[in-house]
């Protein structure tokens, strides 16, 4: 009798039609870039080119801001909130209608498993637009410092959750009456361009959303543009610093969602099987390309051995491979550059004396892949305990007392997320109140909701996205 094994279960690509080449989306139209430079976006799972997009130059960025300013002054800021909200509701509905297509497109361009784009990214994208749609005509009740839009928002988003980060940026900006110039990440522009089509489909007035594709130079031009009244950036702490420096002395408002090195604290009384799940979700969700990943496991020494044994057994079950296979848990690393960074840091981990472990896990021959990896024997001094790896690599440290756990958790310039696992309510609250992090997941990890504010302490950035708090960044 044949043993029951999963057969390949690939989601069909047929639902998506990718054009060979994309223009910029400015003033409600796809327009040819003035810049000649083009970028090829590849499928990280097989390195095959998916499409070519424009790398917007200064003149293109100029055009986008002119359109956004015009739309702000002539249409959008004057539109009653209730009407703005209806556009956002329309967008949310269209996203739901096209969710399958967008999920496949996101998996192709990003490398993340279809299971996640289908069950996490897309539902959250639609929910985010629904949530902020309802705020558009209630801004006076939000408890924010101001209730007036700022003008044109310059938004630069990363490649780890391309469409979700777009939603986090665009939905509150539009709900509050701002217009947008958005630059998606160089390696994941396709769902943003699909979103441009959705804006057209929704009948959104031209210029309210403008999407300029490109790499670092385009991003710099977008955030440096004098017409940008507000800058919202999600990405690396290093680029965040440069932007913060660049806006010094101006009136521009700035919010930054940057890196993290989240601690996931497991006390000895934790619900151990759920803690193991939480650790796995914390670091291997989205291949660890998550700024709020629980990349440092802090486990109480008395249960460390048992927990690690269970963790290794669990990790051995993770299915790595074709992102479009519905049973894939771990997809491809987004780019060759990111893969090189992960390799460099894991090599540093080995050479600094930590012990790496990965399950027996054959990697596909083509594409960018990295196996789930756990480092034990890690100390606070190791690079893998201090630097953000942004990959499926977990560093394990131990602690003896709650004080030590909190001290180690906070011993980082970052402060985005943290986790705490205990069945004792008072210990959970004690720990949560001492963690210097913007999001504390207790007895869970990596759950998100449009109503829940998200953002960091310290060098993880400032400002909040999501919830009532997320309106603050777009009102003056």
């Amino acid at each position: 009798m044949e043993i029951f094994e999963y057969a390949p279960a690939p989601e069909s690509r047929a639902i998506v039609s990718i054009r060979p080449s994309y223009d910029l989306f400015i003033d409600g139209e796809f327009v040819e870039a003035k810049s000649d430079e083009r970028i090829v976006t590849v499928n990280p799972a097989d390195e095959e080119p998916l499409a070519e997009v424009a790398a917007a130059g200064d003149a293109d960025v100029e055009r986008a801001f002119a359109a956004a300013r015009r739309a702000y002054e002539r249409v959008w800021s004057a539109l009653p909130g209730a009407e703005r909200g209806k556009y956002l509701f329309r967008i949310a509905r269209i996203i739901q209608e096209r969710a399958r297509e967008l999920a496949v497109l996101e998996s192709l361009d990003n490398g993340k498993p279809i299971k996640e784009t289908r069950d996490v990214d897309l539902p959250l994208v639609a929910a985010h637009f629904f949530y902020y749609a309802g705020w558009a005509d209630k801004l006076a009740h939000a408890g924010t410092a101001g209730t007036r839009p700022l003008g044109v928002a310059a938004q630069v988003i990363p490649w780890n959750f391309p469409l979700l980060m777009l939603a986090w940026k665009v939905a509150p900006a539009l709900a509050t009456g701002n217009t947008v110039v958005l630059k998606p990440a160089e390696t994941t522009p396709l769902t943003a361009l699909a979103f441009a089509e959705i804006c057209q489909e929704a009948g959104l007035p031209p210029g309210v959303v403008n999407i300029v594709t490109g790499a670092g130079d385009t991003g710099r031009a977008v955030v440096a543009h004098p017409e940008a009244d507000k800058i919202a950036f999600t990405g690396s702490t290093e680029v965040g610093r440069q932007i913060a420096r660049a806006v010094a002395g101006t009136d521009k408002r700035l919010t930054l969602e940057l890196g993290g090195k989240g601690a996931n604290i497991v006390y000895d009384d934790a619900a151990i099987d759920q803690a193991v799940e939480g650790i796995v979700t914390g670091i291997f969700f989205n291949q660890g390309h998550v700024c709020c990943a629980g990349s440092r496991l802090l486990v109480q020494e008395s249960i460390a051995e048992e927990l690690l044994e269970r963790l290794r057994a669990r990790i051995s079950l993770l299915r790595l491979g074709d992102p479009l296979d519905k049973n894939t848990d771990i997809g491809a690393i987004n780019s060759a550059a990111q893969l090189a960074r992960i390799r460099e840091l894991t090599l540093a981990g080995e050479s600094e004396g930590a012990t790496g472990w990965s399950p027996a896990c054959p990697l596909p021959e083509r594409g960018y892949w990295f196996p789930p990896t756990v480092f034990t024997g890690v100390t606070q001094a190791h690079r893998i305990a201090r630097e953000e790896i942004f990959g499926p690599v977990l560093s394990v440290l131990t602690f003896r007392t709650p004080d030590e756990a909190v001290a180690k958790a906070n011993n980082t310039p970052y402060g985005l997320s943290a986790g705490v696992w205990t069945e004792k309510g008072s210990l959970m609250l004690w720990t949560a109140s001492r963690l210097r992090a913007g999001v504390v997941w207790s007895n869970t990890f990596n759950v998100f909701d449009p109503a829940s504010p998200f953002g960091g302490y310290k060098e993880s950035g400032y400002g909040r996205e999501g919830g009532r708090h997320g309106l603050e960044a777009y009102l003056g």
Binding site: R241, L258, N443
Partner: protein, 287 residues
């Protein structure tokens, strides 16, 4: 019958306030403070970058304790500060009068004390006004609450030596931050007097640290200090842009200089919010 010689007044030495103590500047320097008309009022300590360092260390040390107190207790302590200020009305008035005249000085002192009381009352309201439960779509308890940012560097306004001073310091510490404040360079004496009031209240050592000296000398080490979490550039003047650039290195929260109207008796949260973080805590709801 011999005349009784007139009593010679005992003058004050104007010192820094760091970690609950009153040191002279580590540098041993001082600078003369004069009134608008040029009368010598005293010598203020001329703090150095090392005094900045010491003050930041004191503020950091005080942060866990101060932020960990109940909001009610912080409010009580800040109210106690106002009581101490009330007892020094005349001294404040005399110092403020050097710039604005006696009648106005008394009004300003009253406003300053009232302003302190205003912010004392905010301490245990912030959590409710700025935080709350978030209705997430799932079986989770999800709550956001404001938390203090940490150590805040404050450049007090140059022109409003007491009311402006109080208006920038009180909102920073009421939420649980600790502060390193650089006083008005030209008129530092009310800041020193305020420090003496703070020292005789129940405010824990290091929660508020007051430096006097040259803003141009002290602001840069404060803005560049990696253990400072936020900056209030109200008194930065032309230095503001450079300081904001320095602050970017460690991504400090920055309150840019604005057009402040210190006379508004209800400034709201405009000076409290910039120095708050939002922490969101999730927990499952289940059996």
């Amino acid at each position: 019958m011999a005349d009784i010689p007139p009593r010679i007044a005992v003058r004050r030495t104007y010192k820094l306030y760091v970690g609950g103590a009153f040191p002279r500047s580590e540098s041993g320097r001082s600078y003369p403070v004069t009134s608008a008309s040029g009368v010598h009022l005293g010598n203020a300590a001329l703090a150095s970058r090392k005094d900045v360092r010491d003050a930041v260390a004191a503020a950091r040390k005080a942060f866990p304790g101060w932020s960990g107190r109940t909001a009610y207790n912080r409010g009580q302590i800040l109210y106690r500060v106002a009581e101490m200020m009330e007892g020094r009305r005349e001294q404040f008035a005399a110092e403020v009068a050097e710039g604005v005249g006696k009648a106005k000085a008394h009004t300003l002192v009253s406003s300053a004390i009232d302003r302190w009381v205003y912010y004392a009352g905010w301490a245990d309201k912030l959590g409710q006004v700025l935080g709350g439960a978030n209705p997430v779509s799932g079986p989770y308890f999800n709550v956001s609450e404001p938390e203090p940012t940490g150590v805040v560097g404050v450049l007090a306004p140059g022109g409003s030596s007491l009311l402006g001073l109080v208006s920038v310091l009180a909102p920073v510490i009421t939420s649980g931050n600790t502060a390193v404040l650089v006083a008005s360079e030209r008129a530092p004496l009310p800041a020193v007097t305020l420090a003496e009031a703070l020292a005789t209240s129940d405010l824990p050592a290091g929660v508020a640290n007051v430096l006097t000296g040259r803003v141009a000398e002290l602001a840069a080490p404060l803005a560049g200090h990696a253990d400072v979490n936020a900056l209030d550039l109200t008194g930065a003047g032309d230095l503001a842009t450079g300081l904001e650039e320095l602050a970017a290195t460690t991504l400090k929260r920055v309150l840019r200089p604005g057009h402040d109207d210190w006379s508004d008796p209800d400034p709201g949260l405009s000076r409290v919010r910039p120095f708050l973080e939002t922490k969101t805590v999730w927990h499952p709801i289940g059996l």
